[in-house]
Symmetry: D3
Amino acid sequence: MKVSARNQLKGKVKSIQDGMVNSEVVIELAPGVEITSIITKSSAESLGIKAGKEVYAVIKASNVMIGVDH
Amino acid sequence: MKVSARNQLKGKVKSIQDGMVNSEVVIELAPGVEITSIITKSSAESLGIKAGKEVYAVIKASNVMIGVDH
Amino acid sequence: MKVSARNQLKGKVKSIQDGMVNSEVVIELAPGVEITSIITKSSAESLGIKAGKEVYAVIKASNVMIGVDH
Amino acid sequence: MKVSARNQLKGKVKSIQDGMVNSEVVIELAPGVEITSIITKSSAESLGIKAGKEVYAVIKASNVMIGVDH
Amino acid sequence: MKVSARNQLKGKVKSIQDGMVNSEVVIELAPGVEITSIITKSSAESLGIKAGKEVYAVIKASNVMIGVDH
Amino acid sequence: MKVSARNQLKGKVKSIQDGMVNSEVVIELAPGVEITSIITKSSAESLGIKAGKEVYAVIKASNVMIGVDH
């Protein structure tokens, strides 16, 4: 499936930590650039998420805010 | 201000394209790793967004989905 | 790509209406059951969205609220 | 109350599963068409959600992504 | 309809500004406390939004981030 | 950091309730006007959230829906 979300960033799972309902997945996009995702534990299992796996961080552009130092 | 969003990724504005209401901002997080943000044009002006500026892409972890090739 | 969003509902595009930046896409999930999506016009073009095309409405479970008549 | 969310799809609760904080509610929109919602357990209780109850799945159009097979 | 969103804050419309697709609505929650909403123009019309009207700002708790001065 | 989210409402923490993963924080924006936020417990700790602390409720305008009585 090809999805309409604007950002589909390739990376590698660095770690996964399971809660009761959700899993927290850390994805390395580049050396030193990591992004954290929270998805349901059942989605994580269904996608076969585990450390080392190649995945995409999928993010709608309207969910990306911008911050600046002042 | 320090905000609760889990992901605050440092980058540099690569391009900004203004619409009537929104602006589309492309941020380079690392060589070859870009993320696109859509914010209101008035926010972009208020933050002084322009090409080359150092910014943060701010994203809640629950807004980061994961995709895998199958 | 297989994505972590919990809801991936099969349907058929009933109509698409392009604005300057966004497109509004109406998807028929079943006779009389329609869902409206707003995505960027460039995503709509890149996905080849047009009336009659088979698509999926992809929605995170945490973005589905519930209402009840009282 | 009438709300601004574009999608307000009528359905019937098929199942509800309570966690400690959140409840996962499956709503049948039409025969074979189901949508899953995650709301707080306290909201589910306050709305009187239970199997068989008529409810609406309420979703903002901008939270509906589109996927296509390729 | 009663909805599952945790925050339903009563206020009064202070101003509405229509774009081509979206409307920007400023709601006064208390003297000096204002919140801005962007909804589609068609929703604004359908709800009869105009300055002075009593409305509710409806927000999911998971969409409220927290910031602190440092 | 200055962020692009349109709403940054000053308030005071009224209560915080920790779950295993998330914390529910009630913020008083004005006498009788409260807003509830759900953030991760680790974010709450990192920001030093506790009753009485001055904070901002940070909300994107597109996440504010509008309801009207009918």
